[in-house]
Each structure stands twice: as structure tokens, then as C-alpha cells.
């Protein structure tokens, strides 16, 4: 180490007296390939931004127009009959979302494990599990709804099944990520005494990942409640359908009342997430 710079001409500056200071690259070395890739990526991005990003002057002067839209949405509808119906739909939606998300989480847990790098018992075949999860996400809700309606008929059950698949597609990915990112040292420690993959999952990975699981799960529940389409397309009603109709019939005050109600639910779930995560430390 002491000699690594001895064959170089002496340089001035404070670092020159300490061999090694100049040897440490400030940035990763720029190979021609990297340079080309960087320039290419930059060009693509700039071109895209030029095409589609908003310019500042278009945004200015937009404020009053947006204000007028807001004005038409407020105040939210407070007709008791409407609020009653909305409450009913909300409860319906919550029920379906709860059950669907629960089963979805149960389904995504094994899928996540099977697809997590370094933890999966499938080895290289883990991409099969990953692919399944990706497929769950890629196939649109409408198609799942078609399948489930033709399988079990219109109604809440098809809605639940659709939510299960949605949740699995989402949680399957984020659970796997949390598992992969968990501290490697406890995993190694258990591996050393002959723990099987499942043991390591249960004892070293899951406890560490609990806060992340809580976050993802409650987000998935929120998503299921918010998702404005799923239940509507299978004729299961739900608050999303109500919201959509309100918009299509230009009943903005009703729409804003529904959005507010959902916002309250979302905030409550955030609090719940926070509380659970604090409890788990």
C-alpha cells in the first residue's frame, strides 16, 4: 500500500503527501459502454420529457379554471337518504375488501416466498412464482371479472375473487421484496445450524419483515376499498360503482361526498398501520 504511487510523478496539494489519496476514484469509472448507455438513456428521457411534460406557462392561468371545477364539487351532498345509501355501500365494500384482501394475503405469502431470491426453495425456478404474480397483475381486472363471473356468477363472490387476485399480484411482489431485503445475518446464523428454508422464513425473515408486511397488507386493503372498478364490473355494487355513476351523471357534490368518505377510511387505515407498526417496534 505504501508504495502504490511511488512510481508516479509527485503532485502538489495536500493529498500528494499521502499515497493512496489519489488512487481512490471519486466516481465509478466511465467505460465507453457506460458512457454510450448513459447518453442514450439521457436522450430518450429528454425526448420524452419534451413530448409530454407540462410547460410552466400552461400551468399558470390554470388555477382559476381548476377553482371553478372545485366550486362545482363543493359542498358535498348531505342529503340523508343519499348518505344512508352511501353508508350501506361503504359497509358492503369494506366487507368484500376485507375478505378478499385477507385471502389475497394468504395466497401471496407462499407466492412471495417461492419467488424471493435467496429464500425460495425453488432455486432457479423461482421465476415461475414471480411470473405467476406478474400475470396476476397484468391481466386486467375486467378479464378476471369475466372469468369469475362465468365461473361463479355475478355478485359479491366474483368481486371477492377478483380482489383476491389483485391483492396477490400486489402483495406477492412487495412481500418478496421485504423478504429479500431482510438482514442476512440472522438468516445465515440459522442456516448454519441446519435450518430448512421454511424454518429460516418463519424465524429469521418473518419477524423482521412484520412492519413491512403490515404496511403492505393495509395498503392492499385500502386499495381494495378504493378500487372503484372491480366490484362495479361484476355487479357487486360497492362504493366505487356509486362514485362512478355520480361522475357519469355529473352529480359532482355526490361524488365529492363519496370521495370524502373514502378519504376518512383511508386516514383511519393509515392510523391503524401506524399504530400496528409502532407496536411491532
Amino acid at each position: 500500500m505504501a508504495d502504490t504511487t511511488s512510481s508516479r510523478p509527485p503532485t502538489s496539494g495536500p493529498a500528494a503527501s499521502r499515497p493512496g489519496a489519489r488512487d481512490i476514484a471519486r466516481w465509478p469509472r466511465l467505460t465507453p459502454l457506460r458512457f454510450t448507455l448513459l447518453v442514450a438513456a439521457g436522450a430518450v428521457l429528454l425526448a420524452s420529457i419534451g413530448d409530454v411534460a407540462p410547460s410552466a406557462d400552461r400551468l399558470i392561468g390554470a388555477v382559476p379554471r381548476m377553482g371553478s371545477l372545485l366550486e362545482r364539487m363543493l359542498p358535498p351532498e348531505t342529503d340523508p337518504a343519499f348518505l344512508g345509501r352511501m353508508g350501506l355501500r361503504l359497509v358492503e365494500t369494506l366487507q368484500i375488501a376485507l375478505v378478499g384482501t385477507l385471502f389475497g394475503i394468504l395466497l401471496s405469502f407462499p407466492l412471495a416466498w417461492l419467488s424471493a431470491a435467496g429464500l425460495s426453495p425453488l432455486g432457479r425456478l423461482r421465476w415461475l412464482a414471480r411470473g405467476t404474480v406478474s400475470l396476476f397483475r397484468t391481466v386486467p381486472d375486467l378479464v378476471w371479472a369475466l372469468f369469475f363471473v362465468s365461473a361463479v356468477g355475478l355478485g359479491a363472490i366474483a368481486g371477492t375473487l377478483t380482489i383476491i387476485v389483485d391483492t396477490a399480484g400486489f402483495c406477492g411482489r412487495f412481500f418478496a421484496e421485504a423478504m429479500e431485503d431482510s438482514d442476512k445475518r440472522p438468516r445465515e446464523a440459522l442456516e448454519a445450524v441446519g435450518a430448512r428454508k421454511l424454518d429460516i422464513l418463519a424465524s429469521a425473515v418473518v419477524p423482521q419483515c412484520m412492519p413491512s408486511f403490515v404496511n403492505t397488507s393495509l395498503f392492499a386493503l385500502e386499495l381494495s376499498v378504493r378500487s372503484s372498478v372491480v366490484l362495479g364490473i361484476v355487479g357487486a355494487g360497492g362504493i366505487g360503482q356509486e362514485l362512478k355513476s355520480a361522475f357519469e351523471l355529473f352529480q359532482y357534490p355526490k361524488a365529492s361526498a363519496i370521495i370524502l368518505a373514502i378519504f376518512v377510511i383511508v386516514l383511519v387505515m393509515e392510523q391503524l398501520t401506524d399504530w400496528l407498526r409502532r407496536r411491532l417496534g
Binding site: 438482514d183 440472522p186 446464523a189 445450524v193 424465524s203 419477524p207
Partner: protein
């Protein structure tokens, strides 16, 4: 601290590979490394032709300066990291790059390992961490958590915690433990299943002098009464000189010293740490 010296109840399976009596004397060594080499990615060789033979019941202290390759060697011997060259035979399993899944299962059942960074699961209790140490013993999900463990395992875990002097903190979350307490949990976890072979990476580094001595004595009894084999690294000369049968020293990944501990003095070991 006495119960651990009996064959562990968890390990008393008569068909198992752990006869309570010492194996036929002068058998093949329990561990033998043949020119083991290890380099990470395209870095320099961290282990550079390490050859080593350790017999059953020996207590071997592995010395070496920081970065000499001690921790890497221990990991390599049990197949936690693949070796770049050479071969290892350990507990009857011979492998070159890495043990097969089957070999791993067989050898690790009989192994205990104390990691330098402890590797505790922070969010569970000390006791659960210790219970986890028995995972290779076929308890299945019952070794996942203290609340699931069968009574015998729980008792063994508590016993192990007592052996390291930490029974009173059994229910504390592992990430609230002090450095020395955490170290003790790691040791308890490694001995709970009565392993034939215990690898301990600086097991006394965070321990106070009294606790360190207790652990050394525990190791001695494990070796003497039950022919358990012990390989530990340490930076404490006295722990090596007074409590090991043999001292092996690494320097920049090579074995530079391999001798019986008797009749050695600190002076003899000093060159290990010199430039």
C-alpha cells in the same frame, strides 16, 4: 450450568450420529481442510491454501490479526460460503466447492456456530432465538418460536441461557440486549442442541472478564466430558493459552502457526500480529 454436560435430551436419539461415548480413537480427523483457498469476486485470496486437521474432542483456538481470514475460514469449513479451491472434510462429509444440500443437512445437524456479529433475530425474545438453535434437529415448526416449542426444547433453551448466565433476560427482545447479553444469547443458541462440533467466532469479545472465563470453562467441560469438539477464534491470549488444546494462527490467509497450547507463552504468539 451442569445440565448441558449431560447428553442433551434433544440429541439422545440412539440412531443418531452422536454416540455419547467417544468414537473409536485415532479415527480420521473430525475436520480436515486441504489447501482451502477463498477469494471474494476478483479480490485477493482471503484464504490461501489453508491445510488443517482437527480431531474429535479438541479445543482449538484460531488466532490472527484483524482481517487475517478467521471468520472466513470458519464459514468456509461449514459451507456457508463456497470455497474457491481445495477441499474440506467435516463430520464425515467431504466437499470441494460447497457441500450438497444433503451433506449440509447432515453436517449442520451436529453443528453449533457462534457468529462474530451474533446474528440474532432482533424482534423476537432471547429465548426464541435460543429455541431457533435447535432447528436442525427435526422439530419442524415447533422450533420457530418459544411459544410453539415442545417442553423439552423450551427447557433445553432455558438451560442453555442459564449456562451462559442470562436466564433472567430470557423474555427480553433480542434487540434490547446489551452487547454482552446479545453475545451470550448467540452462544446459548449454538449449544442448545448439544452439537458435536462448536464453531465460535470471538465468543468472548463482548463479554466481561468473569463471563468470558465462564464461557471458556463451559467450553472446556463440553470438550472434556463429552468429547465435543470446539473451534473458536479469539483475540484474548489468555483464552487461547489457558483454555485451548491447540493454537492455530492465520496470517493473511495462511496458517503460520499450529502447535499445542501447553508450554506456549504470550511472547510466542506476538509475531502473529506483527506487520
Amino acid at each position: 450450568m451442569t445440565a448441558l454436560l449431560k447428553p442433551s435430551p434433544l440429541n439422545a436419539d440412539p440412531a443418531g450420529p452422536t454416540p455419547a461415548a467417544p468414537a473409536p480413537a485415532a479415527a480420521a480427523p473430525l475436520i480436515s481442510a486441504e489447501s482451502v483457498t477463498k477469494r471474494f469476486a476478483d479480490g485477493p485470496a482471503v484464504l490461501d491454501g489453508v491445510t488443517l486437521a482437527i480431531r474429535r474432542g479438541e479445543r482449538v483456538a484460531l488466532l490472527g490479526a484483524n482481517g487475517a481470514g478467521k471468520s472466513t475460514l470458519l464459514r468456509a469449513l461449514v459451507g456457508l460460503i463456497p470455497i474457491t479451491g481445495g477441499a474440506v472434510e467435516i463430520l464425515g462429509q467431504r466437499f470441494t466447492r460447497q457441500p450438497t444440500a444433503r451433506q449440509r443437512a447432515t453436517l449442520r445437524r451436529r453443528l453449533g456456530f457462534v457468529f462474530q456479529f451474533h446474528g440474532l433475530v432482533g424482534r423476537t425474545s432471547a429465548l426464541s432465538n435460543v429455541v431457533n438453535g435447535a432447528m436442525g434437529q427435526g422439530h419442524g415448526w415447533r422450533s420457530w418460536h418459544q411459544s410453539l416449542a415442545p417442553a423439552a426444547l423450551r427447557d433445553a433453551a432455558l438451560e442453555a441461557l442459564e449456562a451462559v448466565g442470562l436466564a433472567d433476560r430470557a423474555t427480553a427482545r433480542a434487540d434490547t440486549l446489551s452487547g454482552g447479553q446479545s453475545q451470550r444469547v448467540a452462544i446459548a443458541r449454538a449449544i442448545v442442541h448439544g452439537p458435536d462440533l462448536l464453531f465460535a467466532d470471538e465468543p468472548a469479545a463482548s463479554l466481561d472478564p468473569a463471563a468470558g472465563l465462564d464461557i471458556m470453562r463451559l467450553f472446556t467441560r463440553l470438550a472434556a466430558d463429552q468429547a465435543r469438539t470446539l473451534v473458536y477464534t479469539t483475540h484474548d491470549m489468555r483464552h487461547a493459552l489457558e483454555h485451548a488444546d491447540r493454537i492455530v494462527a492465520l496470517k493473511a490467509g495462511r496458517v503460520v502457526f499450529d502447535a499445542a497450547a501447553t508450554d506456549l507463552s504470550e511472547r510466542d504468539l506476538e509475531p502473529i500480529y506483527r506487520g
